[in-house]
Symmetry: C2
Subunit: 196 residues, 2 copies
Amino acid sequence: MDGESTAPRRRGAERTRELLDVILALAEESGYKGMTIEAVARRAGVGKHTIYRRWSSIAELLLDALSHVWVSDLDYRSDGPVREDLREQFLRSSRALSTPPIGPVYRAVIAEAQSDPAVRDALYNRFLVTVEQRTLERVQRAQRTGELDAEADLQFAAEMLSGTLYYRALLTPRPVDDAAIDGLLDMFMAAYATEP
Amino acid sequence: MDGESTAPRRRGAERTRELLDVILALAEESGYKGMTIEAVARRAGVGKHTIYRRWSSIAELLLDALSHVWVSDLDYRSDGPVREDLREQFLRSSRALSTPPIGPVYRAVIAEAQSDPAVRDALYNRFLVTVEQRTLERVQRAQRTGELDAEADLQFAAEMLSGTLYYRALLTPRPVDDAAIDGLLDMFMAAYATEP
DNA sequence: TTGCATCGACACGGTGCGTGCCGATGCCGG
DNA sequence: CCGGCATCGGCACGCACCGTGTCGATGCAA
């Protein structure tokens, strides 16, 4: 699962970092179709064994690479109104998601996930769940401050907020723009805000 | 785009239908990895040209096959409470989505869509948009009957409803169960229902 | 019956996969 | 300082699938 955390061997760690950089560059230049083990090996001037020694499949490599560029942007530090805070974070991460190389790598992981349940689990547990969780914590904080209805169960609301953004960004050709985020938050606030 | 609607030629149409059946069978048995042009040709006892004559790529074939099994289930005919109607339709289509061969074919299309913008557009225009549209029409009808707030702009609400279900069904390992649908509808109704 | 599109079949070069086997390189312990 | 050894790059293999080309045959339609 983690290519580099297992063993900081001789010159292994440097090579590992190099290979991650190479696949990010390939993602940016040639997209999913260009992201193959052989292409990485060629570009890095490396034998394929050197890659297979670190990752058991292209999917593992992609997941690892994604970890390096998608450091789970959603860190809700602001103490402003919950709506403004959500709006800012959603804008920020959807901007990141549509910026190479994150977008192409994310798409590649999703493609791999469709044919490999293990990748689907990894995608979920290492990325999607984190985003949902951070969002849930933020809106629960807003419940405690009285901004949102204290009785509401916000579990599904958090899933819906991040899920709709992922749906639009990754399954439709539409961009996640201000209007989409505002529309989403309109509904969320209409449902749970204490003050009209 | 449509393999069979263009020309009801000699024995072409029969063959076309045969080939669609074959790829659906492959989807059910071996999943995405087994759905290749060569596998279809082998199974059908057919030259590859016979396939390429009808579809320009495996993605076109998949989209066509999906059309035959996913006849856009969402036909809101009931005149009951909008919430019950939505609930029933969501349950029905998410059950269909998780039933072979629809699920595997849908996953295959999504995988292809990640590397080909044209497939992404086709997936969106031929399937996702339809579901959103039907849902939008149903909730707008509920606006006219007074069940939902007449002032609300339900465009994004419709996207959110179907988007969240697709997100859960296709990008996460979680099933779309009653709890998820009820949670989603709780929020939707809390936001827009006229009667508390 | 003739003409022709479609058919199954086979073969081709190209690419990527995953593995196996080299000889060399450079680090680490003794 | 040197021996031992894991890791290294390079190369080759068999396999699978792609997309195209070229056969001769088959069967519908004029």
